[in-house]
Every structure is written in C-alpha cells, then in structure tokens.
C-alpha cells in the first residue's frame, strides 16, 4: 500500500480545479466559439476471487511451493545423439520459489479527470482538445524486489510502474502526447484540427479512427492499437474500446462522394499497443520475461488506409485497405546483455549475457514452472528451449544442447535451474533459482484487405425479423507475421482471414419498458486468437508441448435494457470462446441527475467449461473476476 498521501493530494487538487468555473464554460472569445466540459471519476474494482494474477511476481502460482528439480547431464543430449536409453548423471534438489503471495482486495483503484475543449473558429475550422489524467492510488499488495533479493535488469522490473513503459532501458512513454510517472499519466486522446468544406473533411492531429460495424471484435477496426494499462479490456463492456483505443497523430480525409457513398482515408504515425506493465494488476505477460521493446526501429513509420462505404439499394457495402505496422508487435528471444555470474560459476555471466537468460530470483525456478507458464503464455516449452540454444550458440558453452522431447527438456532445464541457483543445493537439497528470459518486441508491416455488407430486414411489427440489422465483415491479411510459440528468430508468417457476423435488434417485450437492444456476434479467425496469439501455441501444459488448434471462434451476446426515462440501464455482455471459456459481465448504469453517473458491473470469467483451459482465451485473465464501480461527476 502506498500513495495515500499522493491520492489525497490529487483529490484535493482536482477539487480545487473543479471549483474554478473555467473547467466548464462556453461562449465566444475573440470571435471563437469555445466550450469546455469534463468529469472526474473514481474507478475501482474489488476482487471477488482469491486467485492473484499469475503473471505477476506476487501471483506466481509457484510462490512458496516446493518443487522437485530433477536435472541431469544426459549423454545423449550432450552428444546430440538420440540414444535408445538414458545415460547420464542425475542432479536433483528441491526448490521453493521465494516470492511472497499477494492477497489483494482490489484489482483497480484509479481516479480519472477528463476535460474537453472545443473551439469553432469559423464555419469551416474547428478544433478539439481532450485531456485525460489518471492517478492510480495503487491500493495493491505491490511487488518489492528487495524482498526476494531481485536485481533484475530493466526499467520496469523493479518496483511496479503503472504507466511508464517506453523500453527496456528507460521509462517515459512512446505516446507522443503523454507524460507519465510511476502512478500517473496525462495524455491527449484527442487533439486535432478540423477543416470541413462541402463534402471534404480534413482532421489533422492526435485522434482515434474506428471503422467497421462489429463491436469488440476488431475486423475493420485496425487503425489504432490499444492502450491496456488502465483496466485492460475489463472495464464497462458496453463502452467497447473507447478508453483503450490509442490515439495517434494522423491526417484523416473523408470525402462524401454523394449522399450514399463516403471515401475515408488516413495516414498516421505508427503507435503500438501498450500492454500493462509487469507486476501491475492487469499484466498479461509473464513477469519472468524481460521485454526489450524495439519501437525505436519503427517510431517514424507511417500507417495508412482507406475505406469506401455506402449503399446499393438496400445493401450497405464497405471496402477497406490498410497498410500498417501491426501495433501488437511480435516477440522472440533476444540476448539479455546482463553479465551476472551464477553463484559459484565465475565467468558464467559473460556467457549468459549472450543468451536470452539473466540470473535473478524473479525468473523461472524449475522445469515445472517453465512448462506451466509456457502453456499459459501459449508458447512451446520444448522448442522454446531448443531455439534458445540454437539461435544463441553461446548457450552451448554452458553445455546446453537441443533436446528431443519434453522429458529431456525438463531434465536439461532443471539442471540449469539447479546450477544457476547455486550448485551447493545438491549438497543441501534446497536450491535457489531464477532465470529470467529476455525477449524482444518487434513490429512488422502488413496489408489488410477487408469488405463488409449490411442489410436491414423487414418483418411484421414486433417480430424478431423486424428491423433486424445484419452485418458481415471479413478481412484478409496475406503474410501476417506472428510470434512463433518457440520464440525463435524466425517468426511465423501466414495468411489470415478474420470474419465477423453481427446481428442487432431492438425488441420490445413490454409496453412499460423501452425496447431491449440485442447484439449477437460471431467471430472466426483462421490463424490467431482474439489477442493475436498464433493458434499453434494452444494446448500446451506442464506435461506436453502445445498441440495447436485449427481456428478460433468467439460468440458475443450483448443486451441493454433501459428503464423508463433512461435513468437506469441494465446491461449484459457475454463472450463465449467455443473452446470452453466464457466472460460474463452484468452491469447497471444509473444517472441520478445531470451531474452524476454511476456504473456498477460484475465480471465473471470461467476458462474450463468444456475443454483444455490452455486452448481458450479466458485463461489469460481468469483470475480477474471482480466487481467494478465507477462514480463520475461531470462539470
């Protein structure tokens, strides 16, 4: 727990700021119409389950768990021979990960202040500036590297930093219009100038661009990456990616060709997806990894695209092309450059620095942990080890050799964990450990072609067909680059199709209540899951390498039931992964008066309804069941 004083200070400053009429004002000054308004919102999510985020140090499922490490020097492996029998020298011990398990009450405790200033200079020119300030009160059981004697390299691998993220070496931010510290950030989600003249609209500046009719399923919505630092994608589901879609400096030109057709084009500075930092509540990258972000190699690149949208008769049509750097990036092993000797093995640090490995207690301690987390991260624990060895020959100086099969991999891994934890454990029986894995994140260019059509059904008034809107969207990305489950230097390159079928309907069930709004969606992806992870990494467990799956399918059912007067609204959002995972979020939205807005939502996640949890996406945040509450005051 920290930051209580900072929280009080922040709230005081915000209150002071709100006392100024300047926050909410409109009028004319020097011939410019201006309006300014905003809100302050307290946002919290209380945990409703005991599980902690396993990707964080203090949620690691092996913390305090004694594990047998059965290493050995295997003659066959060492000599590169596939012997019919095992010849070697066993080396075993036990190890207990020294992390202290957290016991959090909250996943999320933030205060947000947003203000929007709009200026109209003339009939043709206008400008919008929206500033967003976030303060994280960090009411969490935070990771303390000193408590586990960690000295992990990298800016983000000490005490938690909730907002800075630039790269391995430094803090700061990649977003050009953002300042951030370890528990605050201020940015401009919108800062643009509009010029509109007849059918032409030019919008220049920092902006979000969202295309497509599908909600939550991003088929055509590919212009912007996501900023996942705040509430991952687990905030109020009805808002889709409103808070996550990351703005980027861009020039967007749209031309209304006629009353039915519009051409929309953009060119924007590449801006990658921002993942939650290690040891922050919604981190989804195992914290035994150290990420070297190579954004600097792509930060001057330009993404661009166009969309043609219109109608032919009763059919709506869309055509889209985008050429972009995929904002999610791809990952692979990289040399750690950390020269830290294993206890009792002088000179080993120099060798390790040329491999992806770094000795630190925040790393992986055992083969069991290695394969458990490989499965959770949709990686191949066997081939991942082999690529670490073959792609980084220095590792062979430590007698590491490619292995054949999971048993040999475990034997070799445990040997390494024993030795790098201090070989003395062979005598005492109780070992230490920790090998961090360094990976780099690169960005690859791709072309996306997409089309979509829509149709509005007519039917008897009140029937299910009446005013039913159907949308179908499909995209094709040739030669898309994916992270290989083995983290090898050669990425996977595959053609990918992504499609979504969307059905929307207002249906009135009673005369006293407004109609219920239904959305049903089906997404089908041929190569990756909803988070972009290649499907060949699915299905790995502690006992087997991933088996892979053929395709990913997800179903969404969302409904909104306003109450009379719209003062209350009940929502339900369900995402079902057809391989046995489900996300359910019932929510209640209450607007008791013009200034106040309250939203409460409960997030339920189940990853093992019918199949291997490592084959569906829910496992990645299964631990995040929570009750969320947002209380906003607007001014």
């Amino acid at each position: 727990m920290k930051n209580n004083n900072q929280l009080a200070t922040a709230i005081s400053l915000v209150s002071l700021g709100l006392s100024s009429a300047a926050w909410s004002a409109n009028g004319e000054l020097f011939g410019i119409d201006y309006s300014s308004s905003g809100f302050i919102r307290v946002e919290a999510a209380a945990k409703t389950v005991s599980e902690e985020n396993p990707f964080n140090q203090r949620g690691n499922v092996f913390n305090g768990v004694t594990v047998d490490r059965n290493g050995g020097v295997n003659a066959g492996t060492l000599l590169g021979l596939n012997l019919p029998f095992s010849v070697g020298l066993p080396l075993t011990d036990t190890a207990t990960r020294n992390g202290e398990q957290a016991n959090n009450d909250f996943n999320f405790t933030q205060v947000r202040l947003e203000n929007t200033l709009q200026l109209r200079f003339s009939d043709n020119w206008s400008a919008t500036a929206k500033v967003r300030g976030i303060f994280d009160a960090a009411q969490y059981d935070e990771f303390d590297p000193n408590s586990v004697n960690s000295n992990a390299a990298g800016f983000l691998y000490g005490e938690p930093n909730y907002f800075e993220y630039d790269d391995f070496e430094t803090g700061g931010v990649q977003n050009r219009l953002e300042v951030a510290g370890d528990n605050y950030m201020v940015d401009f989600p919108s800062l643009y100038l509009d010029y509109q003249n007849g059918p032409i609209l030019v919008r220049a500046g920092n902006q979000q661009i969202a295309w497509g009719q599908a909600l939550f399923f991003r088929v055509m919505d590919v212009a912007n990456g996501l900023d996942l630092r705040r509430h991952l994608i687990l905030d109020f589901a009805s808002e889709e990616y409103a808070d996550e879609r990351i703005s980027s400096p861009a020039i967007r030109v749209s031309y209304q060709l006629n009353a039915s057709w519009e051409l929309d084009m953009y060119a924007q500075a590449f801006q990658p997806t921002v993942y939650a930092n290690p040891n922050t509540p919604y981190n989804v990258i195992a914290s035994q990894f150290t990420v070297h972000d190579r954004y600097s190699d792509a930060n001057e690149e330009i993404n661009s695209g166009f969309r043609l949208k219109g109608n032919i008769g009763d059919f709506g049509l869309q055509f889209m092309y985008t050429n972009r750097y995929n904002p999610d990036g791809v990952f692979r092993w990289t040399a750690s450059n950390v020269n830290r000797d294993a206890p009792g093995i002088p000179g080993s640090g120099l060798i390790l620095s040329q491999t992806p490995l770094e000795i630190d207690p925040t790393g992986v301690w055992s083969a069991e942990e290695w394969f458990t987390y490989a499965g959770m991260a949709r990686l191949d624990g066997v081939e991942g080890l082999n690529k670490l060895i073959t792609d980084f020959p220095a590792s062979q100086l430590l007698l590491a050799r490619p292995v054949n099969g999971i048993d040999a991999a475990k034997e070799e891994l445990d040997l390494f964990f024993i030795l790098t934890g201090g070989a003395g454990s062979v005598i005492t029986g109780n070992g230490m450990g920790g090998l961090r894995g360094h990976i780099e994140r690169e960005y690859k260019r791709e072309d996306i072609f997409a089309t979509g059509f829509s149709y509005i059904f007519s039917g008897e008034p009140g029937s299910w067909l009446d005013q039913l809107i159907l949308n179908f969207e499909v995209s094709f990305t040739p030669d898309r680059t994916f992270t290989s489950p083995d983290l090898g230097q050669d990425y996977l390159v595959e053609d990918e199709f992504i499609s979504a079928l969307v059905l929307e309907k207002y249906q009135r069930f009673s005369r006293s209540f407004p109609a219920t709004y239904f959305v049903f969606q089906w997404m089908h992806r041929t190569e990756s899951d909803l988070f972009g992870r290649h499907l060949s990494g699915m299905g790995g467990t502690i006992n087997n390498a991933p088996t892979g799956v053929d395709a990913w399918d997800g179903l969404v059912l969302a409904l909104q039931q306003p109450f009379p007067g719209l003062v209350w609204r009940a929502d339900l959002s369900v995402l079902y992964d057809t391989r046995g995972g489900v996300f359910v979020q019932p929510a209640l939205k209450w607007k008791p008066s013009g200034n106040w807005n309250i939203e409460a939502f409960y997030t339920y996640i189940d990853d093992d309804i019918s199949s291997n949890a490592n084959e569906n996406i829910m496992q990645t945040f299964d631990w995040a069941e929570e009750f969320g509450l947002r209380v906003a005051y607007q001014f």
Binding site: Y34, S37, E114, E240, A242, L566, V567
Partner: protein
C-alpha cells in the same frame, strides 16, 4: 358587427355538424381559405365568440389577464387536459393576449405562398402517399389546407415539419423532476432539410425518393456531447427512416434499428423521436386516423412567445411547480377553430402509446396541443408547442426578407412520472451553433446531415 345574429352555441353546433359530415372547409360563417387567399384576414370566417376571448367567456377573461387556478375554469374547454391540470394543480400561469388577426403572421411567408400557389394540387396515391395530380412528390406548402380526414390533416404536419426547406434549431433543454428540481440539462442542435415538399418547389439534388434529412446532435453536457443521430426519411411513409448514430463510446458512426421511437434520446428527457412536430413518425406507420372534433382552443402562437430582445439567448422566464421553475411563461390567444385528430400506432407492436390526440389550428394547419395516451387509455404525455413570428416590441429577426416564423419553446410533460422537459429554441447553444432557417451559402447538408458529419460532430 356581423355576428350578433349568432348565439354562443352556434359555433359549437357548426363544428359538430362539420365533424360529423366530414366537411373539410374550415370556417363557421364562410370558408376560411378563400379569405386567407384574398386578404389574410379571417375575421369574416368566424363569429366574434371565436375571435374574442372576452366574448367567448362572456367577459370573464380578456387579453391582458393571466389564467391561474382561480379563473382557469372559464377556459377549461379551451385547454388540453394536461395544460388545464398545469394551471389548476401546479401553479402554472398563462398570459392571455390579443389574437393575431393577420393570418400571414402564423406562417413562414414562403410556406404560405407555396400553400396558396399549390392549393388543390395534392392527392393521396394508391400507396397512401401524397402526390401532385401528375404523380410527383409534393411541391411545397400545406398539401391539404382543408383536410377532409385525419390522414390529410396529419400529412399537413408531416411533410414539412418546420415549414422551412431547411431549419436549424439550437435547443436548450431543462428536465424537471417530480419534486420540481432541475435534474438534467442538455444542449442539442436539431436540423431538418427537406428534399421534397419544399416551398421553393424544387426537388433537392433530385432526391425524389426521400422526404428529408434530419439530424440531432448533443453539445452538452460532457457525457452526452457528441451523441449524434442522422435520420434519412423515405418519401414513402410506409417505410421507417434510416438511422445512423454516433455514440461517443463506439467512436464511429453505426447504423441502428429505427423502429423504437417512444424512448428518450438521452437520460431524463421526455422528448421522443415520435413527438417531433406531433408527426415524428412516418405517417403510415400509424393508423386509424380520424377527426374526432372541431373546437376553439387557446394556443401559444403569437409573437410575444418569441423572447428575443428579452433575453440574450432567447431563453424564457419560468415559474410554477414545486420549485417555481417547471413552466415557461407563455402567451396564449384564442384560436377560433382547431381540428382534433386522433391516431393509433398500428405499426409498432407493444408500443407504450395507445393513441395520440392532436389539436390542429385550422388556419395554418399547425398543431397547438398534442396529448399522448398509454395503452390503458390513461393520459401519459403532453407536448405543448409555443410558436411565434420573430418580431416583438424589442426586436425583429428576419428569415430572408420577411420576419421569421418558428416554434419558440415546448413543454413536454410526462404526467405519469411527473417529469417535465421544457426546451427553448435558443439563439445559440454550447458549441456556438445558432438557430436559423436560411442557410445562405452554407453547405448545411455536408455540415450537418451526412454520416461524415455525424462522425465530425461526434468528436
């Protein structure tokens, strides 16, 4: 004085006869529209009891008086039942003013000219829509100045809502809850662009298959700003409009189903899409239209209801209700003849509305009162408009070369939840958007009435 030979019940009898016989021509002593066409003075069409509130009430109420709970019984039958309740039970006060004598002052000039020019040219086609005798979409003005049935009367409201080819209303809304407190306040802009039924007789950009483009976009408060909707109305009144909306959370314009028209656009407001101009839905999505009566009414139709010159932003003083802020000050006058039309929402399964009753001024065919009933037959809402020629003792605002005519404010009262939305057509609202009816050189279509515009206005 031509009226003395008529007793006070003469008009009532004549109205009843006309209603029963389905006589379309308005006027008691003489047909109304020839008089309007000749001189605009309709006094010869009605006896003095319908031209003077003092005569009508036998001296109990006269111009300059204020209707309060103490004297409202004298004009009870001249008010819709909810307006009567406002005065009787909620402390509303209504100022009585001299009635307008020059009928041209209750029309936009161009609209009246089109009405006169095109009189007798409208027919209802086999598909139920209004055409000229040569089968073209309507060419402007009131298609049926002397409506013979409810459908014709309703078409007079439907085809040209604001009676300008383009209207842009900067609207400021206050929502008063049952305890009389202000619970919500919104600023929004409402635009209407007719492609057919235009006073200039043209078809806009050859869009014969459409009636209008209409948009509404909210500019305040913060959580509603950017919420924008574009309705594209078919000329065929059997079809629902196409609805595109920008919801700030989605960051893009999406198409929405459009058959849910009995719900507020934003929380707390009692204005529904269906309410607009008492004709917010395509005409043939309702049915069972019938004229159920003719009667005089009190209507807020005179220029004193324009508050320009009295307030920088044309906003109005308020009074009444538990916190003395539920009602605008309104100035009503005797409307000699209203056609009372009822209709039912036959095209909306499980609609909460059972029927609507509209009181339409027979002179300009514009409604002066509108009450909605629920499915049980209980009164639910009133949507009381206030109109004005925009020239009063303080200022004149022209629409082209003539003083502008438009609505000035509305009381939208849900009496079942006792929530009042009252809104004015303001001079301007947050964002600097202004009311106006003459776009001049401004390309209002691209500025306010396209999907691209919704995206831009949304943010």
């Amino acid at each position: 004085m031509h009226i003395k030979k008529y007793d006070t019940n003469f008009s009532r009898r004549r109205f009843m006869e006309n209603t029963l016989k389905g006589v379309g021509a308005a006027g008691v002593l003489a047909p109304l529209w020839p008089l309007i066409a000749n001189a605009g003075d309709v006094s010869k069409a009605y006896p003095d009891e319908l031209l003077s509130i003092e005569m009508y009430t036998k001296g109990k109420v006269k111009p300059g008086d204020i209707i309060t709970a103490d004297n409202v019984e004298h004009v009870k039958e001249l008010l819709d039942p909810i307006a009567y309740m406002h005065v009787k039970e909620m402390g509303r006060r209504i100022h009585i003013v001299e009635p307008v004598k020059d009928v041209s002052r209750i029309f936009p000039t161009e609209y009246l000219e089109a009405t006169l020019r095109n009189q007798g040219k409208a027919v209802i086609g086999k598909d139920g829509n209004v055409y000229t005798k040569s089968g073209e979409p309507w060419i402007g003005g009131t298609p049926f100045p002397e409506p013979k049935n409810g459908v014709e009367a309703q078409y007079n409201l439907t085809l040209s809502w604001g009676r300008h080819d383009y209207s842009q209303y900067a609207v400021r809304d206050w929502d008063i809850d049952s305890s009389g407190d202000l619970s919500y306040q919104y600023d929004f802009v409402w635009t209407e662009l007719n492609t057919t039924a235009r006073t200039d007789g043209t078809v806009w950009k050859d869009k014969k298959d459409l009636l209008r483009y209409q948009s509404v976009f909210f500019t305040a408060p913060n959580d509603s700003a950017g919420t924008s909707f574009l309705n594209i109305w078919d000329y065929d009144q059997r079809k629902f409009p196409e609805l595109h909306g920008y919801i700030p959370a989605f960051r893009r314009v999406r198409q929405f189903p459009t058959n849910q028209r009995f719900e507020p656009l934003v929380p707390g407001i009692t204005l529904f899409l269906s309410d607009a101009w008492a004709a917010g839905d395509p005409l043939q999505t309702w049915g069972n239209y019938k004229i159920v009566g003719r009667q005089p009414m009190l209507g807020a139709i005179g220029s004193r209801n324009f508050h320009g010159g009295y307030h920088d932003n044309w906003e109005k003083p308020v009074h009444g209700g538990p916190k003395d802020q539920t009602f605008f000050d309104t100035y009503m006058e005797l409307v000699p003849e209203c056609i009372v039309v009822e209709a039912e929402p036959t095209g909306y399964a499980r609609a909460p509305v059972g029927k609507k009753r509209v009181w339409i001024d027979a002179r300009n065919q514009m409604y002066v009162a509108y009450v909605v009933y629920d499915r049980r037959g209980e009164m639910w809402k009133s949507f009381e408009p206030h109109y004005a020629m925009q020239d009063n003792d303080k200022m004149t605002r022209n629409d082209g070369s003539h003083p502008a005519w438009s609505w000035s404010s509305v009381h939208s009262h849900d009496i079942q939840s006792n929530r009042m939305s009252r809104f004015v057509q303001a001079k301007s609202v947050t964002g600097g958007y202004q009311s106006g009816y003459d776009p001049g050189d401004v390309d209002v279509f691209n500025k306010f009435l396209t999907i691209q515009a919704m995206q831009r206005l949304g943010g």
